[in-house]
């Protein structure tokens, strides 16, 4: 740097051109290095997935070939039907879909109703109640998991969808997030609607909810992803394979057949692929949601 500035201050045309050229070269080199490193890292990320696909198509014992072969020949597609028939994967996926969708619907509904009351209505004890909601955000899942389990067992709800849906349907975090968003909405539209005789419920339904679409979509996606991947709670309350969501089902499957890797990996892919499809479809919303919900930290 000092070299460049010194020659620059004397200012002879050829050196200026030379430093400019050197700078351009360095920039191009930097760009090339960036792309090279990124490509290596992407290979490190994607390779395990490709390797899984390759292994899942191998014949009995072929996964133990050494050195490993990348392209299985012939491809044993029947591994997927074998895995599908050994445990009810279709049922697992349906269970997960049903549970995740129900939780998303109930959580959005109850959280937005409560958030509306906190953001727009006056009632005694409102602020104290809100502080109580905020206070529980700190409390981690393992503190409540044991009492919840005992409660569910006492109610004879073990091995039911209710056990897996109901505790997730009420969210202090969702209420907090939506309340913060409602507070940023302008009052004018609501006031106008109220003067025209629209009820509170009408305002909530026809004005607040449509204006809050981005926040609702973000909360919905995160809830769906969280429920789809949730494991510890359904592991505890679902022992009947017919009630298991897909993650618990997959762990159950792993416990049963631990030596036939080609079948195990085919089953893993069956559980994994729907997630990846949903992600590919909703990718835009994921990254946007992170920025919107303030999870970027700024």
């Amino acid at each position: 740097m000092t070299d460049a500035t010194r020659t620059g201050s004397i200012s002879t045309a050829p050196t200026v051109r030379r430093t400019a050229m050197r700078k351009a070269t360095r920039e191009r080199l930097g760009k090339a290095a960036t792309y090279l490193i990124l490509s290596v890292l992407c290979v490190a990320t994607v390779l395990p997935f490709l390797w899984t696909i390759s292994s899942s198509l191998k014949g009995p014992g072929e996964v133990f070939d050494y050195p490993p072969r990348w392209i299985p020949h012939p491809a044993h597609w029947e591994n997927f039907t074998t895995a599908w028939n050994r445990v009810p994967f279709g049922r697992f996926l349906l269970n997960s879909t049903f549970i995740a969708c129900s939780v998303v619907f109930l959580r959005l509904l109850t959280s937005s109703l409560a958030a509306y009351a906190f953001a727009r209505m006056r009632f005694p004890g409102r602020d104290a109640m809100f502080m109580l909601y905020l206070g529980t955000l700190m409390i981690p899942g393992q503190v409540t998991i044991i009492p919840r389990f005992i409660l569910i067992r006492y109610l004879h709800w073990l091995d039911t969808y209710t056990a897996m849906i109901l505790p997730g349907a009420f969210s202090a975090f969702g209420t907090f997030l939506l309340r913060q968003f409602f507070l940023t909405l302008p009052y004018e539209l609501e006031d106008a609607a109220r003067i025209d005789g629209c009820s509170r419920l009408g305002v909530y339904w026809h004005i607040i909810l449509p204006l809050s679409r981005p926040a609702l979509v973000a909360l919905g996606i995160f809830t769906f992803e969280g429920e789809w991947n949730s494991f510890l709670w359904p592991l505890i309350v679902a022992n009947n394979p017919l009630k298991m969501p897909v993650q618990v089902g997959l762990a159950f499957f792993r416990g049963m057949y631990s030596t036939e890797w080609e079948i195990m990996l085919a089953g893993t892919l069956i559980a994994l692929i729907p997630t990846l499809i949903v992600f590919a479809a909703g990718q835009r919303y994921f990254t946007k949601g992170i920025a919107l919900s303030g999870l970027g930290g700024r």
Binding site: K31, T45, P48, R126, T136, Q142, V143, I150, W228
Partner: protein, 301 residues
């Protein structure tokens, strides 16, 4: 006059009544599954209870045993600290570097972002199974690669008490790098471009720009990521459950895994609840310290 007053009062009454109706569905669930559960959990932790016999009040005996006699609890705590010291610095650095690189790659940014984000959307259970296979000492891809580059005796990974923890750390860093990268990217894109232009005019080197502009302006994001990651590692359960079952010889048993074993394998509900509370207090203390001292290095503009 009285009629107007009465009307106003009935209006206010109506508003309060409506507010409680809006609140009711959420509040009911919140009171049962959170408020009641927290109080009940404290109560359970003061009892000995196997769910088949009536609970017996034991006072603070569970906590006393936990803190003074339980070698397994200490081991789980040590393991969790080990995981934290491995995952938090390494994972945060990797995600930050990824974000800086992806942010520079103007062309193909979407492609790189998607590819690197792929492991984050996959479930931990599925990814865990895949990695058990990749880390297989004899037939796994990782050791095949290590042998190819000349390491004749690569580690036994998940079968070794020395290597199982590093293996889980590497796995966790690999899995969550993309998620935190996206968070860092959001932070990076919030830094005003003019600052870099001004630095360019002043002739600042890229290195200087990173230390004087990027890092200070990104410090709130870094702080947020550190807080989230530490909480995340303290709650680690799925990776040891699916990959090692806490083994070999308890070397990957995390705190939550130990709670799970106590509660749902040995049916010691009171003891498990006591561990959960101690874990909560530890997480709370660590988070509190982080917030308390963030002024020393986090700059908010």
């Amino acid at each position: 006059m009285p009629a107007v007053q009465r009307k106003r009062r009935s209006l206010r009454w109506r508003e309060q009544w409506e507010a409680w109706l809006f609140l009711a569905p959420n509040l009911a669930g919140f009171l049962v599954f959170t408020v009641f559960a927290v109080v009940f959990s404290l109560w359970i932790s003061l009892h000995e209870w196997d769910l088949f016999n009536p609970p017996v009040f034991v006072g603070l005996a569970n906590y006393a045993k936990l803190l003074t006699q339980d070698e397994s609890f200490r081991r789980a705590l040590r393991n969790t600290v080990y995981f934290t010291l491995g995952i938090v610095p390494l994972g945060t650095a990797v995600s930050l570097v990824l974000a800086l690189l992806v942010n520079r790659a103007v062309k193909g940014m979407t492609f790189f972002r998607t590819a690197l984000y792929l492991p984050s959307v996959s479930s931990t259970i599925a990814i865990g199974i895949v990695w058990v296979w990749l880390l297989d000492p004899q037939f796994g891809l990782v050791n095949w690669f290590l042998r190819t580059i000349g390491i004749a005796h690569p580690p036994d990974w998940l079968n070794s008490t020395t290597w199982a923890k590093p293996a889980l750390i590497l796995m966790d860093v690999w899995k969550s790098a993309g998620y935190y990268m996206v968070i860092f990217l959001a932070g990076l894109q919030g830094i005003p471009e003019q600052l870099y232009e001004a630095a360019l005019i002043d002739g600042a080197t890229p290195w200087r720009k990173f230390w004087s502009i990027t890092l200070p302006l990104l410090s709130p994001t870094i702080f947020f990521v550190l807080v989230m990651r530490i909480i995340g590692v303290f709650n680690m359960f799925e990776l040891p459950y699916i990959m090692t079952r806490g083994g070999p010889a308890g070397s990957t048993e995390s705190m939550v895994f130990y709670i799970y074993k106590n509660a749902f394998e040995w049916f010691q509900m009171g003891y498990a609840a006591a561990i959960a509370w101690v874990l909560f207090l530890i997480i709370f203390a660590v988070t509190y310290v982080q917030f308390r001292y963030q002024g020393r290095w986090v700059t908010y503009d």
